[in-house]
């Protein structure tokens, strides 16, 4: 929150490999890979990192091999409020767009010099943005309102980059055909709503309506608790859709938390489905995973058994929790 343009920061430099949350996501949620993004106070938040959900002493030991970086961007209230409260740009949504476009102008110029083989002083901000323009870094854009997503889509066309996914996207249902047309995923909650104005029009059928329009739908969490119940969030959204006649089969809805997020993270050729040749990232559930009564029984990552509900020795306990009350007994 020191400048609205911070593409030079990398989330991996802040990841705490001993975070107890990894074990909860594994044991309760069956999560085998996850993207961690910078926050949304800035228009350009910095690089995201994709990890395998396996504890290591270093973040380097957790990184998903071959996963591309993402760039976190943010629309709307958060950058507007963070800087507007200080009387700084961007103070408004039009300020958001003006700062965004001015920054992309610099990035296009930087990339042009690189492409021409000119010598440039390394610029961490511009390196990341040039990576976006060349398609190596995927844009993950926090954006709630339909009208703002449409503005971002126009901006991406103006500067020649692609938005991979809108995050939160609570009004995606209002522009689902536009999202399909531009091949943009929406990473959504099942039923979060109303905590701020830009979340006021959230509806429980957002995910099924986006899916029905043929656009890429993802169930996400943005939350240390929600990541433990992505399967339950998908189940709620699926049921809400069916009640209004959107009949999506269970196995298709599962793509919301497996194949589609893998696609948005640029790792769908490596994980996200059980096709031959892919990494053996597998969950054995003790029942139908779309039921509230079901939990992971075993979780394998790259074929290694990392959690077994029946074997206490296959339950990770982070350094932080060792010797503390409960010792990370998440159940």
């Amino acid at each position: 929150m020191t400048n609205a343009v911070r593409p030079e920061v990398w989330a991996e430099h802040s990841v705490w490999p001993q975070d107890p949350g990894f074990s909860r996501a594994l044991a309760n949620g069956g999560v085998t890979a996850l993207q961690i993004l910078p926050g949304s106070a800035n228009l350009f938040g910095g690089r995201s990192v994709t990890l395998k959900n396996v504890y290591a002493n270093t973040v380097q030991g957790m990184k998903f091999p071959g996963a591309p970086y993402g760039l976190k961007m943010a629309c709307g209230e958060n950058p507007k409020r963070t800087y507007g409260g200080r009387g700084q740009m961007p103070q408004t949504r039009m300020g958001n767009m003006a700062v965004n476009r001015a920054t992309w102008i610099r990035a296009v110029d930087y990339k042009r010099k690189l492409d021409k083989g000119e010598t440039v002083t390394r610029d961490l901000q511009m390196e990341t943005l040039a990576g976006v323009l060349s398609g190596e870094i995927l844009v993950h854009n926090h954006c709630y309102r339909a009208d703002e997503m449409a503005q971002v889509i126009d901006m991406a066309k103006e500067f020649g980059y692609k938005v991979t996914a809108f995050h939160h996207a609570v009004e995606a249902y209002k522009i689902a055909p536009l999202l399909k047309e531009n091949d943009i995923c929406s990473a959504m909650w099942a039923d979060w709503w109303g905590f701020k104005m830009e979340a006021y029009d959230a509806i429980n059928e957002n995910i099924p309506l986006v899916h029905k329009a043929g656009a890429c739908a993802i169930v996400h969490s943005d939350d240390a608790n929600g990541i433990q119940r992505l399967n339950q969030e998908a189940a709620k959204a699926l049921a809400d859709g069916r009640r209004v006649g959107i009949n999506i089969p269970d196995e298709v809805a599962w793509t919301w938390l497996s194949f589609n997020p893998a696609k948005a993270l640029g790792i769908a050729d490596k994980t996200g489905s059980l096709k031959p040749g892919k990494m053996a990232d597998v969950v054995l559930w003790n029942g139908n995973p779309l039921s509230v009564y079901t939990r992971p029984e075993k979780v394998w990552v790259d074929g290694a058994l990392m959690f077994d509900a029946k074997d206490p020795k296959r339950r990770p306990v982070s350094d932080f929790e060792l010797g503390q009350p409960g010792e990370g007994d998440v159940k």
């Binding site: 249902y173 209002k174 905590f195 309506l209 608790n225 929790e321 503390q324 007994d329």
Partner: protein, 425 residues
């Protein structure tokens, strides 16, 4: 709620919308008191109250009957600790009455007038089968006392208050220590001073305004429940010692992430808990021992535990009550974990929070004499795929339409129509 009904009946306006006498038949019937569901059960509501529920109930001639064959019927859920009705949009300060950081008063604050049936959270909560809620103010940044909370209904009429001034809310633990000036001992000193001033035993330089001291007297006398937020085992022990010091306090503990570590002491002291069901992360040093087995272990030790949602989207998401309870059932199938069986899990979102707040005789179950709060579900109410299909509060059928369902219907078909979406209603 009742006032509106009485006037309507006095005018002879016994329209179907106001029918207070009905029988719902043929369902899988859940009483809500921890007993097992009854197949082919009937619940009979006369004049807005449950008069009978079970098998083979005689239905008086002329009673409106609703056939619920193949459905589940339960009491309306009771959200154990919320701030529903206190905020339109949390981040929009003028619509948010949860706390008053600039107020001259703390204990004297009575949230009842702020409860707004027009806030969208009320309809959304109601549509999720939650018919009653324990609604608490939050403490201001420099105060340990939040003020007096209420028990409400989520009905669409103009009078949401079931019981005003039902309890006093106090922050203890890390948050309370910070508010008291930076330590737990400072909190205890402040609490004791407040009790003394309520009893008229304050010194020359009182800490409390006269109105605050007066408002605390019913708490000190044990006439008003005292809901205290605490999470760690040590902080819970501290509150139990406070209760020994002031035996009149009618203490209920909220949150209680480490309650399992002091479960026997809680059971012995007969202190009920409004627990956060799924807290399992060491988010703070007072929650190091968080585990999803917390509720199950406390219940097994004999503690009265209802599910509450303190600081967990508590202005809006009481609709998670059933999902949280379902998750506690899931734990019964996990080796080494302690959950709740289905009947106990349902009670944790119906009769148990009602009992914790001292209103088990009024709400939270379908035992005779309780208010006619009834929900018909299209399946197991704790399951993710189920939804409330019909809701009655005090025997009055409720609308399940919300802003969200209206927006959904407007955008169900994304195709362009003759007129813009703004004309589609």
């Amino acid at each position: 709620m009742m006032r509106a009904l009485v006037s309507a009946l006095a005018l002879g306006a016994a329209s179907p919308a106001l029918a207070q006498t009905l029988a719902i038949t043929g369902s899988k019937l859940v009483i809500g008191d921890g007993s097992a569901p009854i197949e082919n059960g009937t619940v009979l509501i006369i004049n807005g109250r449950v008069t009978a529920a079970g098998k083979g109930i005689a239905i008086p001639a002329g009673t409106e009957t609703v056939d619920a064959k193949g459905k589940w019927v339960t009491p309306g859920l009771v959200a154990g600790f919320t701030r529903v009705g206190l905020a339109g949009v949390d981040a929009v300060d003028p619509s948010n009455d949860t706390a008053a950081n600039g107020a001259a008063f703390q204990i004297a604050i009575d949230i009842a007038p702020a409860i707004n049936p027009d806030h969208p959270a009320m309809a959304i909560t109601r549509a999720a089968g939650v018919t009653r809620a324990i609604v608490s103010p939050d403490a201001a940044s420099g105060a340990i006392f939040g003020g007096q909370g209420a028990v409400i209904d989520t009905g669409s009429d103009a009078d949401p208050i079931t019981k005003p001034r039902a309890f006093m809310f106090v922050e203890y633990g890390e948050s309370g220590a910070r508010r008291a000036g930076g330590s737990r001992p400072a909190w205890f000193a402040g609490f004791r001073a407040a009790v003394a001033e309520a009893r008229g035993l304050g010194g020359e330089n009182p800490l409390l305004r006269k109105q605050d001291a007066q408002a605390l007297l019913p708490v000190v006398n044990g006439q008003m429940k005292l809901l205290v937020h605490a999470e760690s085992a040590n902080d819970i022990r501290g509150l139990l010692s406070l209760k020994r010091e002031f035996p009149m306090l009618d203490l209920v503990i909220v949150g209680a992430a480490e309650g399992w570590r002091v479960a026997d002491a809680l059971a012995a002291a007969k202190v009920p808990i409004l627990a956060s069901a799924l807290t399992d992360l060491p988010n703070s040093f007072e929650q190091l021992g968080s585990t999803q087995s917390n509720v199950g272990r406390m219940k097994a030790a004999g503690v009265t535990v209802g599910i509450g949602m303190i600081d967990d989207e508590d202005t809006r998401q009481a609709q998670y009550s059933a999902q949280y309870a379902g998750n506690l059932v899931a734990l019964t199938r996990v080796p080494g974990a302690t959950g709740l069986d289905w009947n106990a899990a349902f009670a944790a979102i119906s009769s148990k929070p009602a009992e914790a707040i001292g209103m088990g005789g009024e709400i939270g179950s379908l035992r005779p004499g309780r208010r006619g709060d009834v929900v018909i579900w299209d399946g197991d109410p704790l399951e993710l795929s189920s939804a409330a299909q019909a809701v009655w509060i005090d025997g009055v059928k409720q609308s399940l339409s919300t802003r969200q369902t209206r927006l959904r219907d407007r955008y169900a078909d994304p195709a362009a129509e003759a007129l813009p979406k703004a004309y589609v209603r």
